[in-house]
Symmetry: C2
Subunit: 135 residues, 2 copies
């Protein structure tokens, strides 16, 4: 299978595949005489693994770590669990800080009723003065 077909199969851009290869996440495939990359089912699996991890918000570095665990099937998987736990913790922290941000933004928004000049806009002055009610 050539790179275009693999890209379509996995729903990614061709460039992205070459990028993963440069990053060491996809092993370099064989080449045809003309230099074209030729992929097998193996590569497709790995690519889909990467995309699935990405959809879980994992970094390419984390994915590399996971791949290394795949290659050592005898090792205990505590590290995998730890990686995921860390990740979940991070996501929860992000959610919490976004909630706080939302509250601040809503408070700030309530400072202006839409019917003024910029001069009197409570939002701009809120941003200028660092109002105590906002943090």
């Amino acid at each position: 299978m050539r790179i275009g077909q693999l890209a379509q199969l996995a729903g990614v851009d061709i460039q992205t595949i070459r990028f993963y290869e440069r990053q060491g996440l996809l092993p370099p495939p064989n080449r045809q005489d003309n230099g074209y990359r030729t992929y097998k089912a193996d590569h497709a699996e790995r690519l889909l693994f990467i995309r699935r991890c990405r959809s879980f918000g994992m970094s390419l570095e984390e994915i590399g770590v996971l791949q290394s665990y795949q290659e050592q099937p005898q090792q205990p998987c505590t590290a995998i669990n730890a990686l995921l736990d860390t990740h979940i913790t991070q996501v929860r922290a992000q959610i919490a800080s976004l909630h706080a941000l939302e509250n601040q933004l809503v408070t700030l928004r309530s400072c202006c009723d839409n019917e003024r000049q910029s001069l009197d806009c409570g939002i701009l002055s809120g941003l200028l003065e660092g109002d105590k009610t906002l943090s």
Copy 2:
């Protein structure tokens, strides 16, 4: 005041100040004979404004737009309100998608009990197979 003092006052890196200047968010300050930048209270206010907006998750482009409204105090401030409303909407969408992600991650995490080999780890196989329970 020199750049180091301004940086300390605003709690930012010196490089960041120069970066904002290059981006057109901070007006170029006067220079001493030796080329050192000299800032006044005005600059400090603008820098703090930028940082406050950044802490609200606004992009540098959005901040530039807000600054342009500051410079036209006679204009109605509907656009400012709209900018903030858009921003709030985006934050809420982010929160929602992070919540969904959190659920998926927790489900994935529950596939492994920590006591196996990588080979049998439910997390790795979940990532490999694209389990239906996960999406």
